[in-house]
Amino acid sequence: MQIRTREFVPRATFALHDPNLQRALANAAGGFIGKRAKAVAEVPEFEALREAARVRKDEILAELDLWLERYEERVRAVGGQVHWARDAEEARAIIRALCARAGAKTVAKGKSMVSEEIGLNEALATDGLEVIETDLGEYIVQLAKEPPSHIIAPAVHKTKEQVAELFAEHHGTTPEPTVPGLVTEAREQLRCQFFRTDVGITGANFLIAETGASVIVTNEGNGDLTQTLARVHIVTAGIEKVVPTLEDATLFLRLLARSATGQDSETYTTYSMGPRRADDPDGPQEYHVVLVDNGRSRMLGGPWREMLRCIRCGACMNHCPVYGAIGGHAYGWVYPGPMGSVLTPLFVGLDTAYDLPNACTLNGRCGEVCPVKIPLPDLIREVRHAQQRDGLHPPAEQRAKALWRRAAERPALYHGLERLAVRLLATLGQNGRIRRLPGLSAWTDARDLPAPAGRTFLELWHAKGRDQ
C-alpha cells in the first residue's frame, strides 16, 4: 500500500469538506459508539476482563518466543507448515512462491490488515493473479480501487448510495441503496467466485499455541468459504497474534466483539487447523501460516511494547474525535486513528508519518475504551518525544519551544513577558475579543481570541500585598 502519510494535512482538510465522507462518518460513529456502550453495559465484569486481558497479554509477550515455537510445533503436527517472514518483502516472497507452486490463477482473500501492511495484493497482481476480496467492505474498496479506511470496517467512508452506484457500475445492475439489497448483491457476485479460487488467504485474530489453530471472526462467513473451498489455505498473521490456550482466546474474543462492533460475539468465529484430513468432508489440501515480524520483535524490547497488546478491534478510532472528523484515508497508510498514530510512525518512519501522533488532542478517550488497556495517549506522546530526539519537529516550533523554555525557567523574565503580552493584547481587544491577530492567525482564522484585561493575576495579587 502506498505510503501517503506526508499528505496528512491536505488530505485531512479535503476530508473535512467532503460531504459524502462526512455523512458516512456521522452514521458510523453513532452506530459504533452506541453499540459498544450498550454491549459493555451488559457485562458487569467488563472492566475486570480488560484488566485480565492486559495482564495476560503482557505475560504472553514476555514469553512470546516460547509460544510461537509451541504454535509452530502444533501446526506441523496437524500437517500444516509455518513460514517465518522477517519483513514485508520476505512475507510477500513466501506467499508469491506458495501461489506459484500451487499453479494458482485466482486468490480469494478474507480481510487481513497484515496483508495490507505487507502490500500483498499489489504483489500478487504483478504475478498476474486475480485477487478477490471476499469481505464485503474489502470487496467494496477493491472495486473502488481504494485502500481500506478502517481496520474492521474497510468501506466505512462510503455512504450506501455510493456503494449502490459502484455496484451498478461493476455488476451492471440497477442501483438499490438499501443495506440488505447491497449485501445480497455482493453475496451473489462473490458466491460463484469462491468455487473457482485456487488459494484462500485469510488473516488471523488469534493463533492458539496449544492446538495449532488459527481463529478468525467475521460477520459474513466469507472467511469460512475462503479457507474451506480453496486447494491451498494461507494464514497471514503478525507474530503478536499467538495466545497459549483456547481459554486465552476466549477471554480476548469476549472483549474483541464488544469493543469492535458491540456484538456479544461476531456472527462467525472460525477455527482452522491444518489441511483436510482423510475423513474431512471438505477443507484445503495444503495449510500454510506466514508469521510476519516486520518490526514487531524490535517493538518488544522498547517503549512501544504495550502496542503489541493490540487486538485490532478499532474501538480507539471509533471513539477518536479526529478520526471521526476526517476518516481513515487522511492518515495515509494501513493503520489509522490512535493505534495508527503510534504504529504507523514505527512502520514507515517517525519523519514520514510526522503528523499522525501530533494531530491528536491527547483527550484520552481511546485509552479509555481500549479492551487491552493500551495507554494510547501516553504512547502517542512518546512518539512525539522520539520525534523531538530526532529533531523532527518543524524548525520554527523547535526555536519557539527553546525560547519559551528559557523564559519559563526565569520567573522575572517569564512574568515580564506575560505582562507585556497581556497589555498588548488588551489594546487590541474590541468588545472583549480580538477578531484577527497577524502572527496568530492559526488561532484567529477559526475563532476569536478572548482579550485579557491588561494585568496579570500575579501582579494584581501581589500589588494588593497579599503575601510574600
Binding site: L362, R365, H385, E418, A442
Partner: protein, 256 residues
C-alpha cells in the same frame, strides 16, 4: 461555622499560565473559595509553567526542568491547589513519571503529587462546599474537560458544587465526554481540525439552549468562547469557580 481540624493549613495556589495572563478573576475566585473554606492562601511569586506544553510537545527535558522548579516552589505547602484539571494532571500523573529515574527528585515529585489538588475536587472532598454562598439564576451547561475528566476523574465534584448555587439550573449536553478540540498547541498546529471539533462541540452546547457555558479548564474555555463569539452565539462563558465564588457578575470570557 467552626472549621474542621484538618483545615488549618496553608495552600499554595498554582496560578496557571492561561489564568494568570487571560483571566485573573479565576485566580481571585479560587483564592476566595479556599479562604472561605478556612485555608490560608499563598501565591508563590517565582512559579511559572507546570511544563505541560513541553511534555506534550515532545520536550521531556524541558518538562523535567520545569517540574523540578514547580516542586521546589510548592513542596513546603500543606497542599497545592489549581483551578485547572489539565495542569493538575501534569503535576499529579506526569511529574512522578518524568522524574522516576532521578534519585534526588523522584520522592519529592511523588510527595507533591500526593498533596496536589484540582480546586473543585479539593472543595468537594476536603470540605468547603458547605460555605458556597452564591447566586446565579441562569440555565448553564457544564463542559467536561478531557484531562480533568479522564486523568483525574473530575465528574461529580463540579456538578455537586454547582448544585449548591442558588437559582442555577444545570443542563447536560449530548456527547459531553467528547473533546472540544482545544488540545493545547494542537489548536494552532492543526487549526482546521481544531475548528471542526470546536464547531461540533459548540453545536451540542447550543442545542441545550443554556445561557451560560461553564468549565474547569481555561484552555478549553478560551477556545469555546472564541468560537461562540465568532459565530455570534448569544451565550456567556465563565470558569466554574467564578460562578461558585459569586464573581461571575462581570463580562464573560471574550465579552466586554
Amino acid at each position: 461555622m467552626p472549621l474542621p481540624p484538618d483545615r488549618a493549613g496553608t495552600v499554595g495556589l498554582f496560578a496557571t499560565c492561561l489564568m494568570n495572563a487571560m483571566r485573573p478573576n479565576i485566580g481571585f475566585a479560587a483564592a476566595q473559595l479556599l479562604e472561605d473554606a478556612g485555608w490560608r492562601v499563598e501565591v508563590p511569586r517565582e512559579q511559572t509553567c507546570c511544563g505541560q506544553p513541553a511534555y506534550n510537545g515532545g520536550d521531556e527535558d524541558a518538562a523535567r526542568a520545569l517540574a523540578r522548579r514547580t516542586i521546589a516552589q510548592f513542596e513546603a505547602f500543606d497542599a497545592l491547589v489549581a483551578p485547572s484539571g489539565s495542569c493538575l494532571a501534569t503535576l499529579k500523573h506526569d511529574y512522578p513519571r518524568l522524574l522516576r529515574d532521578d534519585p534526588l527528585w523522584a520522592g519529592r515529585a511523588q510527595a507533591l503529587a500526593d498533596k496536589s489538588w484540582e480546586l473543585l475536587t479539593f472543595l468537594h472532598e476536603r470540605g468547603g462546599a458547605e460555605r458556597i454562598r452564591s447566586r446565579f439564576p441562569h440555565r448553564v451547561v457544564y463542559h467536561d474537560s478531557c484531562s480533568g475528566l479522564r486523568q483525574l476523574g473530575i465528574r461529580e465534584a463540579p456538578r455537586a458544587l454547582l448544585a449548591r448555587v442558588e437559582g442555577l439550573t444545570l443542563i447536560e449536553a449530548e456527547d459531553r465526554e467528547v473533546c472540544c478540540g482545544f488540545g493545547g498547541t494542537f489548536s494552532v498546529k492543526y487549526p482546521a481540525l481544531s475548528e471542526r471539533l470546536a464547531e461540533n462541540k459548540v453545536q451540542r452546547l447550543l442545542a441545550t439552549r443554556a445561557e451560560v457555558v461553564l468549565g474547569g479548564d481555561l484552555g478549553c474555555l478560551l477556545h469555546l468562547a472564541g468560537r461562540l463569539a465568532r459565530i455570534c452565539a448569544p451565550v456567556r462563558v465563565y470558569h466554574t469557580v467564578e460562578v461558585l465564588a459569586g464573581l461571575a457578575d462581570g463580562p464573560g470570557i471574550g465579552q466586554a
